[in-house]
């Protein structure tokens, strides 16, 4: 399948319907019909290849979850270091307990973020009378999940060898790659979020002891910023209809 050619065609159709908006008002009925046909083709191409119901509010909610999670993680770490200073926790067990606590926290945060993200996206799809679970949604999910699961296993393997230095950079970089990969099947803003996460992940390799802060910026702040941008661009005012 010549995907490249198909996409050229896709953009051609998009361009033609753009022209439609700038065209003059005096149109023959045949022309109106033709434009209608083109806009139908465009709508179907878009809907079948991209999941457009992704809500900006999903990003904001996921970002807030991440910030709360990072705050709790910070407190857990502080506790640990206070105990360490007192010489009360300098055992292998207490480090394992810390690891388990943090991984559990991470899993809870991920779950909460996914639930909120799903709820807002589901709500948006319902408002627009679009199915949540269609071909484009499946493609998006698969293309995001595959690199993400690879990244998750990679991070767990690092922890297995007590290599915690690169947990935050690896989380950010893999998540960014997953987003870039998935962005072909959803709103293009997601690609830029992906680039930002990858860059942040690479930068954080040079500030290894500030991992949690980078994690909070990447999963918290960036999600909130991009979520707000996407909400502003696509959803503002749409909810009141």
């Amino acid at each position: 399948m010549t995907t490249k050619r198909a996409f050229t065609l896709y953009f051609k159709v998009l361009f033609m319907s753009e022209q439609n908006q700038h065209g003059n008002a005096a149109t023959s009925s045949r022309r109106t019909e033709t434009l209608q046909e083109i806009s139908d083709i465009k709508r179907i191409m878009e809907r079948s290849s991209r999941f457009i119901s992704l809500s900006g509010l999903s990003g904001i909610a996921a970002g807030l979850c991440a910030l709360v999670g990072a705050y709790i993680a910070n407190n857990i770490l502080k506790d640990y270091y206070i105990k360490l200073d007192r010489g009360a926790a300098e055992t292998y067990e207490s480090f394992t307990v810390l690891e388990v606590k943090l991984v559990t926290l991470g899993a809870i945060v991920l779950l909460a973020a996914l639930i909120f993200a799903f709820v807002f996206t589901w709500r948006r799809a319902r408002q627009n009378h679009l199915p949540v679970w269609d071909l484009a949604a499946r493609k998006l999910l698969w293309n995001v999940l595959f690199p993400l699961i690879a990244g998750g296993l990679f991070v767990l393997a690092m922890l297995q060898y007590d290599e915690w230095h690169f947990v935050a950079p690896a989380c950010l970089a893999f998540y960014g790659l997953a987003l870039v990969n998935g962005s072909k099947y959803t709103l293009s803003d997601v690609r830029y979020l992906g680039y930002s996460e990858i860059l942040l992940g690479l930068v954080s390799t040079q500030f290894i002891h500030a991992g949690l802060y980078f994690w909070a910026i990447g999963f918290g702040v960036l999600h909130i910023i991009y979520g707000a941008i996407m909400w502003w661009k696509y959803e503002r005012g749409a909810g009141s209809q």
């Binding site: 051609k12 033609m16 003059n24 179907i44 199915p131 269609d134 071909l135």
Partner: protein
């Protein structure tokens, strides 16, 4: 002068056939249920149009199974892609022509 309308493909006169082609040119393979969901048509209606497109050589049909359930997927052929592209070009010329 040739009227551009003559260049329009009769096969794509139908909204559903045009819809099927629009979906298939941007997706590698799509199964029956996804087509049905996106075009909001009944089984019988969609099936008839798919047979028509297949008879014209515009789409390929792959019959497969998921467990015991049949899973038929469809993909566009080279000829189908060309016919669709030509159709779009004619539409484009029509808009330009009237301007």
């Amino acid at each position: 002068m040739k009227n551009p309308i003559n260049g329009l493909n009769k096969v794509f006169d139908n909204r559903i056939r045009l819809g099927v082609m629009s979906i298939l040119v941007v997706n590698e393979q799509v199964n029956f249920n996804d087509l049905k969901q996106m075009l909001e048509v009944t089984d019988g209606n969609l099936a008839t149009h798919l047979v028509n497109l297949e008879d014209n050589g515009y789409i390929k049909v792959y019959k497969g199974f998921v467990g015991r359930k049949t899973n038929t997927t469809y993909a566009v052929t080279k000829a189908g892609e060309k016919a669709f592209t030509d159709h779009i070009s004619v539409l484009e010329n029509m808009i330009k022509g009237v301007k």
